[in-house]
């Protein structure tokens, strides 16, 4: 089958379908994932085709969802859990941090935790409180978890396949504002490894590093900067734990300048670690400090303010200019 153009949402749906077909131990669990197909329809049609036994509407209790997924994993299943929105993962945070992340180490490797926690995340969809957050740093800080986020339909398809195949727990952040963006998906391709970065656009003057929803903004910024004669390289990090520092370092050693962009608040966001570590690795290469563009240290604002709150083209270009001015 040749490559096909589909939305990120569709790619995720196809990926789940593929996983259910391939491995009878794969289960889908979450609130409204059954008949409704999830509030974003990512599980659309799956319960109909695979039954209530494998696509499971759960009680409204996130700790219970992740806690029972852990038990199912101990029994040999591979649960793929859906958290309805970013802001609702916190009731499950204890099970994720103290149990899911640590079980493999606690058992000295004798049990595995192949659990995927899918979280639609990020803003710009005009939603009410708790529906637009980017809590990835709160997971990336925790050893035992892997944290990834696709930015394209192809990555959505393949990274989810790989996350499900992984024997480690993976927190899979889905850029909900990009669900309807389309891209080519080649379901017969040989995908990149799950935790490698990808040069989304090559350039020479400065590197923009981003993941998930901000990759598109960075590509737009690169295009706009190109019109002003600036050659911007865009690195799609894809993985926040582990971060592909080797890949990023290669880019920064070339461009000597780095701006990290994410929706999450800057303070202790993933960008802080990238800035700290890239500065250490590239101290003699950097012409400017690593700059960061992200959310502010404030609760995610009401929808009518989110355009100002979120990093957009202008704020990214502003940071590019500031970096180049050093």
């Amino acid at each position: 089958m040749a490559a096909e153009k589909m939305s990120i949402a569709k790619a995720l749906n196809e990926s789940l379908r593929k996983a259910l077909e391939t491995d009878p131990k794969v289960l889908i669990m979450g609130e409204d994932v059954g008949k409704l197909g999830g509030v974003f329809r990512i599980t659309d049609g799956l319960q109909k085709d695979f039954g209530e036994d494998r696509v499971i509407d759960t009680p409204l209790a996130e700790s219970g969802i992740v806690g029972t997924a852990i038990g199912l994993a101990l029994r040999g299943y591979r649960p793929v859990v859906e958290i309805q929105f970013d802001g609702f993962v916190f009731p499950a945070y204890d099970q994720i941090v103290t149990q899911l992340a640590k079980m493999h180490a606690r058992a000295l490797g004798k049990v595995k935790m192949p659990v995927v926690v899918r979280i639609p995340y990020g803003g710009a969809i005009g939603a009410v409180e708790h529906h637009s957050e980017s809590p990835e740093a709160l997971f990336a800080h925790v050893a035992g978890l892997k944290v990834v986020s696709p930015s394209t339909a192809s990555d959505a398809y393949w990274m989810l396949q790989q996350a499900i195949q992984s024997d480690d727990p993976v927190i899979f952040f889905e850029p909900k504002r990009r669900y309807w963006d389309k891209g080519e998906v080649d379901v017969e391709a040989i995908p990149d490894a799950l935790h490698t970065s990808r040069v989304a656009k090559a350039g020479t003057d400065i590197t923009l590093a981003a993941y998930g929803p901000m990759v598109k903004v960075c590509l737009e910024a690169a295009a706009a900067a190109a019109e002003e004669g600036k050659s911007v390289e865009v690195v799609d990090l894809r993985s926040m734990s582990p971060v592909d520092f080797d890949g990023l370092q290669r880019s920064v050693e070339k461009t000597r300048r780095l701006v990290v962009v994410h929706e999450a608040p800057v303070f202790l966001g993933v960008g802080s670690e990238i800035a700290a570590r890239i500065t250490e690795r590239c101290f003699y290469h950097l012409e400017a400090p690593v700059l960061r563009v992200g959310g502010y240290h404030a609760p995610y604002p009401p929808a009518r303010l989110e355009e100002e709150y979120l990093p957009g083209l202008d704020r990214v270009l502003d940071a590019v200019d500031r970096s180049l001015a050093y």
Binding site: E31, K35, G64, F88, V128, L305
Partner: protein, 396 residues
């Protein structure tokens, strides 16, 4: 006998189990509770007739004082609430609101319980208690700010003793419990009421609220609107036996009331509030009702439920029921209904206009009220952002 069991419903087969779910071959130690369909406290039939039975005798005294005027008031509350609600739904369709969570069908549960409260009682709502807000005197347009996206609530909870809408399912039941612990500490005889849904009953927080309120004997009423659905999930995905029965296991009474009967909701809530005031601790009220509309304007219930179900519940409509009673009893005349119709239209118009003229918040509001006592990082980011914005103005 030391075994507690509920045979009210047959054990549900696990969605996955391959084993026969056949009944026990041995006599199980089941006991106590009856296998019959649990009864509702009902004071008004769907046809509008008053009911007085041994079953509801406990609660009748709580509405003895209700006059014809009071009944008309309850009717007016329900009609205006529904009118407000439908206006909000339209406003969402017109793009004036980002989202709306309709209370259609739940008017009796909300007005009945809301009108049972005293001014000094305190309410902890979910995101759907527009009717309760109405009873508390919260201006309905205030409720729309969060759905329009100009704030996250933003009314002063203390001006009407009506807390902010809470979206994280179940959290507010603990806040209510804590508040009630405080009321008890103060030696006040106010009560607290926490609203939540059938879906919410699964959350750990709600069950912790049951434990804390029982242990501290807190004056709180847990008022669950069992509207049969949590988005697309029917109550069978949340519980195996009727929810009101859960209370006993935590050591306080639970009662199921006809949630489409405003009089019964008023009576049962008053009864529960009185228990709280008397220092008898928490009560769980399960108002058995129905979400007539979609979960929110983003939802599409045709994907998961059948029209017939809705139709069956339409016959139990809370407003029609009271109207039938008012007409049959002569407690209201045509003039009343006509006047109310006008008032209703006026409310709709006022809400529409208020929403349309609702200003967007100032951009710098992003940085406001993050902390009460200030925070250096917020100050820094505010200043940077202001300078960034100013840089555009310079540019032009």
């Amino acid at each position: 006998m030391t075994v507690e069991s509920t045979a009210a419903r047959k054990p549900r087969r696990s969605s996955g189990t391959k084993r026969a779910a056949g009944a026990s071959t041995r006599k199980t130690a089941a006991a106590a509770q009856s296998a019959a369909e649990p009864q509702l406290v009902q004071l008004l039939t769907p046809e509008g007739d008053r009911v007085e039975t041994a079953d509801n005798a406990e609660f009748l005294p709580y509405v003895e004082d209700i006059t014809a005027e009071d009944l008309r008031g309850l009717y007016r509350d329900m009609v205006l609430t529904r009118r407000f609600d439908s206006e909000a739904t339209s406003l969402q369709r017109q793009g004036e609101l980002g989202l709306w969570a309709s209370l259609l069908g739940q008017e009796a549960a909300q007005i009945g319980s809301g009108r049972a409260l005293r001014d000094d009682d305190y309410v902890f709502p979910t995101y759907r208690e527009h009717g309760v807000a109405w009873c508390r005197g919260v201006d309905p347009t205030n409720l729309l700010g969060m759905f329009r996206g100009v704030n996250h609530g933003g009314w002063d909870p203390n001006s009407n003793n009506f807390h902010l809408y809470t979206i994280v399912i179940g959290s507010q039941t603990l806040h209510a419990t804590g508040y009630a612990m405080g009321v008890a500490k103060d030696g006040a005889d106010s009560a607290v009421i926490a609203y939540f849904g059938d879906g919410a009953s699964s959350q750990g927080d709600v069950n912790e609220a049951f434990t804390f309120s029982a242990v501290y004997n807190a004056p709180v009423v847990f008022f669950c609107q069992n509207n049969q659905w949590a988005i697309s999930e029917p109550t069978e995905r949340q519980m195996r036996v009727p929810l009101y029965q859960r209370a006993a296991g935590f050591g306080f009474p639970g009662v199921r009331v006809d949630g489409n009967d405003v009089l019964a909701c008023l009576a049962v809530t008053r009864w529960a509030l009185e228990r709280a005031r008397r220092g008898e601790g928490p009560t769980l009220v399960e108002a058995f009702t129905y979400r007539m509309g979609a979960h929110t304007t983003s939802d599409d219930p045709t994907r998961y439920r059948r029209d017939e179900e809705r139709a069956a519940w339409e016959a139990k409509d809370p407003i029609e029921r009271l109207k039938a009673h008012l007409l049959a009893s002569g407690d209201a005349d045509e003039a009343f209904f006509a006047e109310l119709e006008q008032e209703s239209e006026k409310l709709g118009k006022r809400v529409r206009e208020a929403v349309r003229s609702m200003p967007d918040p100032d951009t710098m509001a992003i940085f406001e009220n993050v902390y009460a006592d200030g925070h250096a990082l917020v100050d820094e980011e505010r200043a940077e952002f202001a300078a960034y914005l100013a840089s555009f103005e310079e540019g032009h």
